[in-house]
């Protein structure tokens, strides 16, 4: 096995891990950036995406369909939650109310998932087209992980273009900077918030569908990944989309290389990285210090 091949394989592994992390961190940072809400239910939303994706794949027999259906369904659930519950808290200045409400959503959704799908882990597998390995400089690498990297890059570009090049993206950015001014100019800010919350949930759900073939869909699958996502958001800067991309890649590399070279300290490395960033830039790499 060549050294170059080994390094390349590790880099690809890190990027595939970063792709999964990006989907969940991106949603989290969008929601925080626009609504100033730390969504504690984001991990469970990710898990819900995996379960809905499983059902969609079983019913349709297509992994592609699950990639479309799960974000739509879970995005709709997120929008409904925002409309019914969250918006009543917007006038309040204490962040604790949001924490409690989203934490409550996490508990309720977890139990609903258990009641609907049961405790048995589920996996619809990966489609035949994405099975198999490619040999990269004598090193086997799964085709599915290459697919994850490609989809992660495509999604990052798509969201970036959406935020930068479309009118809806312009409104989202405007609301994140001064929602009262945007409201005064006649824009329905509530609608923007609902849309962003739904988009954030849809992104997490897509991450859940993509993660299921790697880890299977199981109760608790969102617990650790949401902690990673929070670390990414803190590293990248709360509310910064570009920061979430950089944070995902950094954490992906730290996790993969840390696990390979420093097994016993693998978990600590991610937090060590966060600590360094916070010491140098308290607001995160691309965030603003408030």
């Amino acid at each position: 096995m060549s050294v170059l091949g080994f390094i390349l394989a590790q880099c690809l592994s890190a990027l595939s891990q970063a792709a999964i992390l990006f989907f969940i961190a991106c949603g989290l940072t969008l929601i925080f950036g626009i609504m100033r809400i730390v969504n504690f239910a984001h991990g469970v939303i990710f898990m819900l995406g995996a379960y809905v994706g499983y059902t969609a794949a079983v019913w349709s027999g297509s992994f592609l369909v699950s990639l479309i259906v799960a974000p739509i369904v879970v995005g709709a659930v997120g929008m409904a939650f925002e409309r019914i519950f969250l918006r009543h808290l917007y006038g309040r200045r204490d962040g604790g109310a949001y924490l409690m409400l989203t934490f409550g959503l996490a508990v309720v959704l977890s139990e609903l998932i258990r009641l609907i799908w049961g405790a048995q882990p589920l996996s619809s597998g990966i489609p035949d087209a994405l099975r198999g390995i490619v040999i990269v400089l004598d090193q086997p690498f799964p085709l599915y992980r290459l697919f994850l990297i490609a989809l992660g890059i495509a999604a990052a570009i798509a969201v970036w273009q959406f935020l930068e090049r479309t009118r809806a993206g312009l409104l989202i950015r405007a609301v994140s900077q001064n929602s009262e001014m945007v409201h005064a100019l006649g824009t329905d800010v509530d609608l923007v918030r609902t849309g962003v919350f739904g988009l954030g949930c849809a992104m997490a759900a897509l991450g859940g569908v993509l993660a299921a073939p790697l880890v299977t869909a199981f109760l608790g699958m969102g617990t650790t990944v949401v902690i990673d996502a929070f670390v990414i958001v803190i590293i990248g800067g709360m509310g910064s989309f570009l920061g979430s991309i950089i944070g995902s890649v950094l954490v992906g590399f730290v996790q993969v290389l840390g696990a390979y070279y420093f097994q016993d300290l693998a978990l600590a490395f991610m937090y060590f990285l966060m600590l360094i960033v916070l010491v140098i830039r308290p607001g995160g790499l691309l965030g603003k210090e408030e």
Binding site: P121, I126, P142, L214, T216, L219, T223, L257, D264, L267
Partner: protein, 407 residues
């Protein structure tokens, strides 16, 4: 003048009532005792990452209740299981056990999922006047360094699972091994014994990997396995960790390069992995196809109750633990904890896994060792672990109050 005592009608009636009450009392009391259930506390994982194992514990308890009550109960008393959710957290587990003992009056505890939960309970058993029968806790230390008189382990421990595999691998063609274990008490305990045993049989352990608990990305470890040049890979992961590892290893085509030997072959994993699980070898805590009447009866009752669901190792081990417990209660003639302890010591029963001896010296149940290979089956809807080799219980159980084997 002497007055003769006169028995008035009222006196006679009073006396008759008292006499009939006295005569009737034992029958009444017997009836009250029969109606009083034997309460067994099940502090298990109902929510959280280990909820699957907890759900298996509970479904087996429900089946056992149905079967036992249909036979007239234990000592003529019905059995009642009281469930509490520990979430897999040791501190929560201790708190829930306290509730089970003090509020629900359950002085017999079983169904605990995580070894660290079990370890946290042991020092409290005397204070609670409770006994605890493990159905699945694998950490070798529970019947060694952490031994307490009120704890029994009916199940195959981690050292025993590793031992069965090591015995099998002695004659296997693979020479070089690598080990992947969960960085938890159970994983480290399993791996320590595997390392000791595999070296004893003259094979080489080239590297060992401890993956953090709840790890999700195994790609760095898979790369390490590929690089190691090992022909066999010992895997001491279970539940979500095991499924993630095998799913990702399959995607890397690792099974074509390395033979996996897993510490626990779980039906839940086989079900999820499907055809990718075929060929997987490992130690079995509950050999589904073991051909003895006790196992056949359990398997058929289980599959009939749960619509052809195949019992997993947790189901088999839970069933065995309860059968041993009931045998001890019958022998003691009482569910009183210390009487059950005395009765369970050196109790020798034939369970779904064959002959089990609850040895007195450390309260470890001597279980046979089973090595299985996952294969398709005509009798079952899913691939299952077919028995490859059975090792006698004496050979498969560590030295007393130890995780090591001198035999």
């Amino acid at each position: 003048m002497l007055t003769r005592p006169t028995a008035t009608r009222r006196t006679i009636l009073k006396g008759a009532s008292a006499a009939s009450a006295l005569l009737a009392a034992p029958a009444y009391l017997r009836q009250a005792t029969a109606a009083t259930p034997i309460k067994i506390g099940i502090p298990t994982v109902i929510t959280g990452g280990y909820a699957l194992l907890g759900s298996q514990v509970m479904r087996t308890c429900k089946l056992v209740k149905k079967m036992t009550d249909a036979k007239g109960g234990v000592l003529g008393q019905p059995v009642e299981f009281v469930y509490q959710d520990t979430t897999g957290d040791p501190a929560t587990c201790v708190r829930k056990c306290q509730e089970l003992v003090e509020r629900d009056n359950c002085h017999i505890l079983t169904g605990v999922i995580v070894s660290s939960e079990a370890a946290a309970m042991l020092p409290k058993l005397e204070e609670w006047n409770a006994i605890f029968i493990s159905h699945g806790n694998g950490d070798g230390r529970l019947t060694a360094e952490l031994f307490v008189p009120r704890f029994f382990r009916a199940n195959t421990s981690a050292p025993m699972g590793a031992r069965a595999l090591a015995l099998y691998l002695k004659d296997a063609p693979e020479k070089k091994f690598i080990a992947v274990a969960s960085d938890a008490a159970w994983g480290r305990s399993s791996n320590a014994v595997f390392e000791e045993q595999i070296k004893k049989v003259g094979k080489d352990l080239v590297d060992k990997i401890y993956a953090p608990v709840a790890n999700k990305d195994y790609s760095p470890y898979i790369t390490k396995i590929l690089q190691s040049g090992a022909q066999g890979c010992y895997v001491a992961l279970q539940g979500d960790e095991a499924r993630a590892f095998y799913s990702q290893a399959t995607q890397y085509g690792l099974a074509q390069r390395v033979q996996f030997f897993t510490e626990i072959v779980a039906q839940a994993d086989i079900k999820v992995l499907g055809k990718d699980a075929i060929g997987l070898m490992g130690s079995s805590r509950y050999p589904l196809t073991y051909d003895i009447p006790q196992n056949k009866a359990f398997r058929e009752a289980f599959m009939s109750e749960y619509k052809n669901e195949i019992p997993d190792w947790t189901d088999g081990e839970m069933f065995q633990a309860l059968m041993i417990l009931f045998a001890a209660i019958e022998k003691a003639g009482s569910p009183e904890p210390m009487k059950v302890v005395a009765a369970m010591e050196d109790l020798d029963v034939t369970s779904v896994k064959g002959p089990i001896l609850m040895r007195k010296c450390d309260h470890q149940g001597e279980n046979q060792g089973f090595v299985v290979k996952v294969a398709k089956s005509d009798k079952f809807a899913e691939p299952i672990g077919e028995i490859v080799k059975v090792y006698p219980r004496e050979l498969n159980t560590p030295d007393c109050r130890s995780s090591s084997f001198s035999k």
